[in-house]
């Protein structure tokens, strides 16, 4: 557990929960990023500007942390080939919309309302993600 960063994780998690809670209480919506992204791809939709505004905020939040303390910003460490990245992106985009939610929608927003759908979704994607990492790291990449 040499890379475990419990306080960073806990502080960031609290911020994420406050952000999703603030979004619910102010705008009345779920901060599920895959759904927000899908609506932000439809300029004709009534909530287009609203969803786009949330998305623009995300990288601004990263910049804000960088301004406060550059050491807090993790350096990206993408591994894997271009083909893997493209496949991963396609699966993430496709799967999250078929399931109506991803880590934020089902995980952060769904679990604390004890939604059975979100519990099932979270258990399912955690299981297939862990299985994929096991195959890629210990069977294929070994």
């Amino acid at each position: 557990m040499q890379n475990f960063m419990p306080w960073h994780g806990l502080t960031g998690g609290i911020l994420i929960g406050l952000a999703a809670g603030f979004y619910l209480l102010s705008v009345g919506r779920m901060a599920g990023i895959s759904g927000i992204l899908e609506s932000a791809l439809k300029p004709a939709s009534a909530s287009f500007i609203l969803n786009l505004s949330f998305l623009v905020g995300l990288p601004l939040g990263a910049l804000l942390i960088w301004l406060i303390s550059p050491q807090l910003v993790p350096r990206n460490a993408f591994s894997g080939s271009t083909a893997t990245l493209i496949a991963a992106g396609l699966l993430v985009g496709f799967g999250s919309r078929i399931a109506n939610g991803c880590t934020s929608g089902h995980g952060v927003c769904g679990l604390p309302r004890f939604s059975v759908r979100s519990i099932a979704a979270t258990l399912t994607f955690m299981a297939t993600a862990a299985a994929t990492v096991f195959i890629m790291r210990h069977l294929v990449g070994a």
Binding site: P6, G9, L24, F54, L63, R97
Partner: protein, 146 residues
Amino acid sequence: MPIVAAVIAGIMFGAGLTVAQMTNPRKILDFLDIAAIAKGGWDPTLLMVFIGALPMMFLAYVIQRRMRRPLAAPAFLVPKPSPIDTRLVAGSAIFGIGWGLAGVCPGPAITALAPTSGQIGSVILFVLAMIGGILLSQFFTASSTG
């Protein structure tokens, strides 16, 4: 007003993902690597993120139940309870495979578009592929509900 609230919520969310190191795919893959629990090197940072986030969101639902409407919108748009179906399980399974391949999910992907994160080429490539996946999913959506 709702737009200002949305930008603030987005900034907080992106700041949280950044502080939690969740924009770094390595942190995600090292969490998902369950073989490392026994071998050593397992990274439970992502678990701490949920431990921090879930009680905050639970609190927000407690407050929401006492409110007639949101502060800056006419009504709450909260999904109604519905049963587990094939789409939910199949979609989540597919999402998980993609998440396990690259260690990136939608929130961190968009947040990592900030030029301070590095490897911007990989991030843009992932985001474009993810948008492609979202557009593809719309062919499988009979009655679209956003």
